[in-house]
Amino acid sequence: MRTLLTNARLIDPEAQTDAPGWLRIEGGRILAMGPGETAAGDEDVIDCGAKCLAPGIVDIGVKVCEPGERHKESYGSAGLAAAAGGVTTMVTRPDTTPAIDSPEVLEFVTRRAREASPVHVLHMAALTKNREGREMTEIGFLMDAGAVAFTDCDRVVADTKVFSRALTYARSLGALVIAHPQEPGLSAGACATSGKFASLRGLPAVTPMAERMGLDRDIALVEMTGARYHADQITTARALPALARAKANGFDVTAGVSVHHLTLNEFDVSDYRTFFKVKPPLRAEDDRMAVVEAVQGGLIDIISSMHTPQDEESKRLPFEEAAAGAVALETLLPALMRLYHAEQLTLPEIFRAIALNPARRLGRDCGRLAACAPADLVLFDPDAPFVLDRAKLQSKSKNTPFDGARMQGRILATWVDGAIVYRRE
């Protein structure tokens, strides 16, 4: 069955274009696309109403709390949230309880995802057993079972020898390693970025330099081992030159950033608002602007939601004790529209970072508007204003920093493999 999407504003991250056009879907794939108008044949026709049609979001670093904390988020609830947020591929994190560090656990979550999620799910696995940084996981078996990348998430493998061996072993299998660049000695116990704000609030803080030190170490090990490496979040200006040098040297290095570090800064924490507690902590405004510029210039490749569900009990605590993380599958695109409306990023630049680059990094052919690519699509209105009500989020956990915020950008419909998985009423 064919479907024709007409009267659309096509956002093509490969060609970096944003122009009126049409797109035809058949058999779960994009059949063809073009500018302007086209004559409809014997097919379903959907009028996009001149709204934006873009490749579905590929979100690296989503936490679904299965196994262990299903009350915070299940594959069902995360999948609904993803569909409502235009995310057509969730790439999930292994920092569950227990960690996804064996083929058996990976098989369990793969089955759960297949049963419950309306969108594609790819799984990452832990790099070391139980994410303890001591022994590497069965990287080969885990790859056979479908793991697309290996990461200990926000834990740094502090033992350089362990990390270098894991990178060397991963290199032999062509596995992608995702690390959290941070000097763990400096960041121990910190829940804010050092500076005036942290001092005023009396919060234990980490210098932004700790991120650069972590990245410098990791890049040296990448040079030594030749591994494929992705830094999960680069959030400070000081780390950017090191990243640029590594890329200029031809190392297989990419970097990401969370939507929160692009749209919020340390002062948003205000009177100890724990929904703004994320890891790494929110940064100074200068850092935020530098990182936005790095996304614009392509130095930072990928933007993620870093979706981290936490229940009320984990957040209704003194700031130091409260759990870190925020849900963001549904707010990723609306939050990024702030940067679009501020004319800091164009829509093709945004989709390069949330669809094309993450798909490429994982060797997937989605994330593009091109003939034969999977028909994973999102239709959205970048201008539609609304006030976010966290109670209406699909996620089981409602820990969003954007509660009550005025936002622009509504997702109108989401397609996965040519089938509609979300449509705004």
Binding site: S194, R201, G202, P318, F319
Partner: protein
């Protein structure tokens, strides 16, 4: 007397006029406390609960005495040994206490912001008796009253705060208060004990104590916590005393009539020479303790007045 606040969580939200109003009221309590009959009735019928999640002797005693002198029913809860050990969260503890209908809640907690959090969940007035490294407002107010009485004013003074600024809530509250009242504040201490970005608070930072003490009117020493003495932040106790301990020679650089303050408890021979601490011509450390009771009486009086007014308004507004 203008003091439009429901809680006393920090110095940050107070306007200079509010600070002055509170200090003026505290003066009357100094006189009361020095008299034969020390009893007031401003808190009669009210219940005051002191919740200390962190050990304290003097602050707790000061709040207890202040409440009792004004006629409140005072209860002390040593929370270090209590329900938190059984896994109860701070908010549950707050709700439990709230159900006992206290009117004044005095809280100390080891984490910054914890008292703010608690204040959001209860119906009574909350006084912050120190939260983490954040604020300790009654200490700053009693320091201010001590300075005002000794110097005759609380503006255009040079005040040096010396020692472990980074971990000190006393320093933060004092920096804020003295700044609001238009004094020049100097911070003196080793850079390892100086918080990041502190220069943006409108203070002058010195790591040479001799230079920092030149011509100051007030020398405020801070306590150096035992656990920070060895190797971590400073090399040793004796090197610290040599460079940052207040002795007669360093004090001679301050103005001849400069006063010496310390929030207590003191480490004699670490941050302050015993003889200076005991010198009745220079040290106002005992006065600070005395002012503490008066300032806390004033703070609780003002909050209780606001609480009663709010309740009367609610009753008047309620149907039936």
């Amino acid at each position: 007397m203008s003091f439009p606040h429901r809680h006393l969580l920090g110095i940050e939200p107070l306007a200079p006029a509010h600070i002055t109003a509170l200090l003026d009221l505290a003066e009357t309590y100094v006189d009361l406390n020095r008299g034969e009959d020390k009893h007031g009735v401003e808190l009669a019928g009210l219940t005051q609960i002191n919740m200390f999640f962190e050990a304290s002797t003097r602050t707790q005693a000061s709040f207890e005495l202040a409440g009792k002198r004004l006629g409140a029913d005072v209860m002390n809860m040593g929370m270090q040994t209590s329900s938190l050990k059984k896994g109860e969260t701070l908010i549950d503890t707050a709700l439990t206490l709230n159900a006992m209908r206290p009117d004044l809640l005095v809280v100390r907690h080891p984490h910054s912001g914890a008292v703010d959090l608690l204040a959001q969940k209860v119906n009574c007035a909350v006084l912050n008796a120190g939260d983490g490294r954040h604020e300790h407002p009654t200490q700053a107010l009693l320091d201010a009253l001590t300075i005002r009485r000794a110097k005759g004013r609380l503006h255009r003074l040079n005040v040096a705060i010396c020692g472990d600024i980074a971990h000190s809530r006393v320093a933060r509250s004092n920096i804020l208060l003295l700044g609001k009242m238009e004094n020049r504040v100097r911070l003196i201490g080793p850079p390892t004990l100086m918080p990041a970005g502190i220069a943006e608070f409108g203070v002058e930072v010195y790591d040479d104590m001799r230079e920092g003490l030149k011509d100051v009117d007030v020398v405020m020493m801070l306590r150096l916590q035992k656990e920070r003495m060895d190797g971590g932040f400073i090399p040793s106790e004796r090197e610290y005393f040599h460079r940052y301990g207040l002795d007669a020679e360093k004090l001679a650089l301050a103005k001849p009539d400069a006063i010496v303050m310390h929030p207590g408890p003191m480490n004699r021979g670490v941050e302050i020479d015993g003889e200076i601490a005991d010198d009745i011509n220079r040290s106002v450390i005992q006065e600070q303790v005395e002012m503490g009771v008066a300032v806390r009486m004033a703070a609780m009086h003002l909050l209780a007045r606001n609480l009663r007014a709010a309740r009367a308004q609610a009753r008047a507004g309620a149907p039936g």
